[in-house]
Subunit: 342 residues, 3 copies
């Protein structure tokens, strides 16, 4: 029995600790095809090598969320196997595109620890980095989770709560090497809307809905080598339902957002994110976006939009009730930066 990984508990973490996550993963066109089968993903830079070359990439970079899911999945056995809740994300930066053929590894540093007043759980903050086979960081983000203690009587550590940016500032957005949207083909991309056409405060209803299936979210979650039991084993929860991996909802909502944000080609930063309510098979997921901010970027004809992406079982534009809490139909509230042609 002692051969298996029971996961870390709260008292197993130390601030400053480095965790090398298993298992490195080579990604091919196969993962891209699976991604396109699982989500209605259509952003042209990710869909076509030719389109990608016309705007400065050597070939089509994989959908940025593939990199996120692959890196995130590796952290699960070390960070969230005994997690009670996935509390938040911050300072997510997609520093380099990932291409078919790349091999990704992941490492995390514990940057904060805070025992909860109950004494039964604590919050663990980690900064996770995903690297490619050349040792280049492709993705970096902070995540914090609530983790069970093994021993409720274990003494509490000194509390360390990291100072995290509320969002990635425009000046801190990743540099886009070689990207040039001067020859961007709006017909092929699917919509005519440029950076200047979007206004801060604008809300876009992405119209379409997708009904969730157990077979699909399990395929997705396994594809990222995410092994959290609740996604796969219907006996693991009292209600006999399998909880859908929050990342599946992120990718579904992002793909649905094509309808209205077809030109929001790449995600370059994640500012924050909340999985507001659980999602299950049978739920029909819709998405809407709000333009939160706009930024200039140092690449020809490229601008950035800061977007709130909401996945919901309800209607566009509604987010919180009178009590300030997320409405029960809200599944995801994600704040990110995407690049858009000017």
């Amino acid at each position: 029995m002692s051969k298996t990984n029971a996961g870390r508990f709260f008292e197993d973490y130390r601030v400053g600790q480095e965790i090398v996550h298993a298992v490195p993963r080579t990604i091919s066109g196969g993962e891209r095809a699976m991604y396109h089968a699982l989500y209605p993903a259509r952003h042209a830079v990710h869909s076509s090598d030719e389109f990608a070359r016309s705007v400065g990439y050597s070939q089509a970079p994989l959908d940025d969320l593939i990199a996120f899911h692959v890196v995130f999945g590796k952290t699960v056995p070390d960070v969230s196997l005994n997690a009670v809740a996935n509390l938040g994300y911050a300072e997510g930066e997609f520093l380099r595109p990932v291409f078919a053929g790349d091999t990704l590894t992941a490492t995390s540093t514990v940057i904060g620890l805070k025992q909860n007043s109950s004494g039964k759980t604590g919050v663990v903050y980690v900064r996770t980095r995903g690297e490619n086979q050349r040792g280049e960081v492709v993705l970096s983000y902070v995540r914090w989770v609530m983790v069970r203690k093994r021993d409720v009587d274990a003494p509490a550590f000194e509390t360390v709560v990291p100072q995290l940016a509320t969002h990635v500032l425009p000046k801190d957005l990743p540099v886009l090497q070689g990207v040039d949207f001067s020859r961007y083909d709006f017909d092929l991309a699917g919509e005519a809307h440029r950076w200047s056409d979007y206004e801060i405060g604008e809300v876009i209803d992405h119209v379409d809905g997708v009904t969730m299936e157990d077979a699909e979210h399990m395929l997705a979650t396994r594809l990222w080598q995410n092994t959290a039991k609740v996604h796969f084993d219907q006996t693991a929860r009292p209600d006999g339902r399998r909880l859908i991996y929050g990342g599946h909802v992120i990718s579904m909502a992002r793909a649905l957002s094509f309808n209205g944000l077809a030109n929001a080609q790449r995600i370059i930063a994640i500012n924050s994110g909340a999985h507001a309510n659980p999602c299950y098979a049978g739920d029909t997921v819709r998405a809407w976006s709000e333009v939160l901010d706009k930024a200039e970027l140092d690449a020809p004809n490229v601008g950035a939009l800061r977007l709130r992406l909401v996945a919901t079982k309800g209607s566009a534009g509604e987010l919180r009730g009178d009590d300030g809490k997320y409405l029960p139909e809200i599944l995801l509230d994600l704040d990110y930066w995407a690049i858009v042609p000017k």
Copy 2:
């Protein structure tokens, strides 16, 4: 709200109009693997690079229906988002094989418009061309759909109904460059039946059945970036069922036809097609074929069979009732040409 695509209505089309469809798509071995997971596809030319080389291809061409689905999927947002019915296909020609690594784009020309007597809808005829990254046309076909009018009171256009061939004539079948079936290995292909073994009028029951699943048809339909709402959103229809994309039924029937038509290696033309009745998860789909015609081709040891491929929930050989209408169990009636070793 105005950022999203509401689709074209009948009065938005003009005869002669050219529509460049978004989004170009690079296809890899990943899409081939997904196709093999979704359908029991086993035709040797598409399954094996070695087999394909032995008959004159540089590598295994992708299943021809992959090209069809990819091109068709691109037309959906521009042609059939507001379609009431997919009425027919004609003059489909698979002009060049598509290989892993190719990038496909699609363009349509409106070639006919006819308002219906109700005044609420009209029929739109388009000729669609799929091209690879070298600008070579790989696929061309005519499709006509019934589309809603935005404004019932909008004046009717002059009716233009194109003259369409009832089927592609043998002399008009695509030229098979480099294909030579002289070294065709019947053992590896799976059956011994040659072109000369098939007789006009012969009916082949393909025996096997497959029970449909929502997760599977949604994976397939998304893979082709087909976004029609009724396939994904169980709240979109009063009966709470998701309509299966007709192309999913085509591919399933074609793959089932291996048993009896293992040597009908490539589809080179689609003469006509009708989605006779809707298909839903839980239906068990079977297939049968009828040999409609035979033709000589100008390639060594290669002949063509014109085949009726029927997908049904019932028995082989039955197609229409006494009233001349398709029986309720008939799902698909497809008329195509395939190449067969002599």
Copy 3:
């Protein structure tokens, strides 16, 4: 009707008969990605080109069970289409790794025939070889199945029952060309347990469970071009359920065994195997392993473990009842050799 394959019956086999199976298959990164989506497979040698290179492979070999399934699938139309039961496996040897880009073919030799006393069925023993595009044998195994007779009154052949090894002896294990685990990175592989840490008789509960889905096992089974009707057609069985391909359970259990056997990197031999009870959608599959034996290998820092891998709907460690028969919750009892770093 005569064009379709009705499969061979018992009296169609002769000892010494060679059967060339259709259809050759080129495997790409797409099949690997599908495998990772279908199973929680995480063994580092199969997951990462970089990791594989660090231990002597040119790139990541495909999961060994991919080769097994592809070869097995090809034999179905010739060997088990009229099978009543899949009785056993022996002398399975994974002689060479299979890589993305390889094309596999399969051939079987009938090595034994034994009519059952009922006169209605007989046991067929075949030795099957899978070869790559260079004609190198990548996999060889013996399988025996109970096959129906077409004509109950057909005379019985002389009984030939092959002498089969109860297991592959250490001295007969495949040679591992170029493999060197001296630079094996245990952090990246996911566990610290070496060959010397495992003791004969040790039982490992792999903890996690996965609930089966019809859509998933059908995708898997088709991916291997396995066409046995009972897996796909819910009308084929009186209970309206689709029987899950036994190989799907093998791959699921093997993938689950990562938790405790993360370093059992490659399967190099299958000693025996029994599909103890049928598996259906809705079943939650768990796995446990028992260390049956250990062997030295002639490659630097590489040892072998002989493992019993059990898939169960019940608890770890339980296998047979007081009557010596498999407990009803046991799905699979597989005996294999895997390589492990020393």
